[in-house]
């Protein structure tokens, strides 16, 4: 379970998160939505300890995570932009990540799943954007952790890989894991997410299921419901 209380973060003069409170229970798929610059990535990075909040508390399973590092053993994170050191090959990178975490990894199955075998010996700087994203996905899913955080997982993926990604997310959900996803692709969110967390101006604007969001905004589809919030008709 993740418990965030009055999280506050500003970059220079820009307040990104304004005393945000959020509780996420164990198990299920949570989509974090919000317009550009609403603080989605900052929120995720605060959970990961990459951004150090000015104020507030982040607890995972009742333990504060600020300035700790061991807890990340139980988190898999897919960064938004897949940039890797260009002078390493795919298999070297995977081996390195396995060295960092001593837990068991399912890299072979995932390489098979995303058809990455022909690229294993290639340098990462020579890969296309979509292939890099697949490597990114392999690195994220190869360890089994209770919390999985995906920042824009669909970027650059071809339809087949997208289907496999969705299957993978469902499998992880069935194992009782918590999955946080940010995405701007509404169709994808509607298909996979159980709960929606809507961020606006550094605060949680809405938290609940997709159906609840639709009823609250009197809209039939999710896309319009979200547009409705953004245009302030509902405020």
């Amino acid at each position: 379970m993740i418990e965030i209380t009055s999280l506050y973060k500003k970059f220079g003069k820009v307040e990104v998160l304004k005393n945000l409170d959020l509780t996420i229970n164990q198990g299920g798929i949570f989509a974090i939505l919000g317009p550009n610059g609403s603080g989605k990535t900052t929120l995720i990075k605060s959970i990961l300890g990459m951004v150090i909040p000015n104020k507030g508390e982040v607890k995972i399973d009742d333990k504060s995570v600020i300035k700790k590092f061991e807890y990340r053993n139980n988190i898999n994170y897919l960064p938004q932009i897949a940039n890797f050191p260009g002078n390493l090959s795919v298999s070297e990178l995977i081996r390195m990540m396995k060295d960092i975490r001593s837990t068991e990894s399912s890299d072979k199955e995932l390489i098979e799943l995303f058809d990455l075998k022909p690229y294993l010996k290639q340098k990462l700087s020579h890969l296309s954007g979509g292939t890099k994203q697949k490597v990114n996905l392999v690195l994220t899913f190869m360890f089994s952790s209770d919390l999985i955080i995906l920042d824009e997982p669909t970027t650059g993926l071809d339809p087949i890989s997208l289907i496999r990604l969705k299957e993978l997310i469902q499998q992880e959900k069935e194992k009782g894991r918590t999955i946080l996803i940010t995405s701007h692709i509404i169709g994808f969110v509607e298909e996979v997410a159980d709960q929606i967390v809507f961020l606006l101006d550094g605060k949680i604007y809405f938290k609940g299921s997709i159906t609840e969001l639709k009823t609250q905004t009197n809209q039939d589809d999710l896309e319009h419901a979200i547009a409705n919030i953004l245009m302030g008709n509902n405020a």
Binding site: F11, K45, R72, I75, P79, N83, I100
Partner: protein
């Protein structure tokens, strides 16, 4: 480090060492010439590589930050990785020609070792300073500019200011001032250290003479080595402090 540049750097010192030794035919003279090159060049290379390495490995750093690793492990690992690799290029690159020349049998072996030691120290110091600059500046151009400016100040401008102040305040006793001012610049300090070792410090003007008079050769060397260690330790500590507060 899997970098072509560290090999280029290594080859450069290899060639430089051979040229110096076989053209000079005198180890002492070669050491002095090499010293003049090393005290300016190792800081510059350390600075440039330090800044470039930090900005180039940024994505990789972010990848590591999401893993169960301590921040201090990540940043100190990167720092020592680069500094050690650059120092090895220097030590091995210059070491081979000197061994080929037969320096191990001559009395100049200690002069030569102190030269390498100082070069390694300067590499560690300036990589640390460059990392600090890069950590505090998100903007690459700015970070690069400040780091180069720092090198320029310590390598060139500092000496000028130092000399001017000695001339201007000629009427006052300046021994202590000169001593402290030298300690505050790792490049000057390295130069003094080697000159003390070569036992020709009296030739090297005011600071060298003061150093020798005040501290004697042995104590002078111990003190200057200690100060060089401080010059590595303090910027490294700043790296840790900055890295622990920074957002990625």
């Amino acid at each position: 480090m899997r970098s072509r540049w560290s090999y280029v750097y290594f080859l450069f010192y290899l060639v430089l060492g051979f040229v110096m030794l076989f053209l000079n035919n005198d180890v002492s003279k070669a050491v002095i010439t090499l010293m003049n090159i090393i005290v300016v060049l190792t800081p510059l290379v350390g600075t440039v590589f330090g800044v470039m390495h930090f900005y180039n490995s940024r994505e990789f750093t972010e990848l590591l930050l999401a893993q169960p690793l301590k921040r201090s492990t990540i940043f100190l690992g990167q720092y020592f990785g680069l500094a050690i690799s650059l120092s090895l290029s220097l030590v091995i690159g210059l070491g081979i020609p000197f061994i080929v020349y037969g320096v191990t049998q001559s009395s100049a072996i200690w002069d030569f070792s102190s030269l390498l030691l100082v070069g390694a120290f300067l590499t560690f110091i300036f990589v640390a300073l460059a990392y600090n600059m890069a950590l505090s500046n998100e903007n690459k151009i700015k970070g690069f500019g400040y780091a180069i400016l720092l090198w320029l100040t310590l390598a060139v401008v500092y000496d000028g200011l130092f000399l001017i102040s000695l001339l201007v305040f000629d009427d006052y006793p300046l021994d202590k001032f000169a001593l402290i001012a030298t300690m505050c610049n790792p490049i000057d300090l390295s130069r003094i250290l080697i000159l003390l070792k070569l036992d020709i410090s009296a030739l090297f003007g005011y600071t060298g003479a003061t150093f020798k008079m005040f501290l004697g050769t042995n104590l002078g060397m111990i003190v200057s080595l200690f100060v060089l260690c401080l010059w590595v330790a303090i910027p490294s500590w700043f790296i840790l402090r900055k890295a622990n507060k920074k957002d990625f």
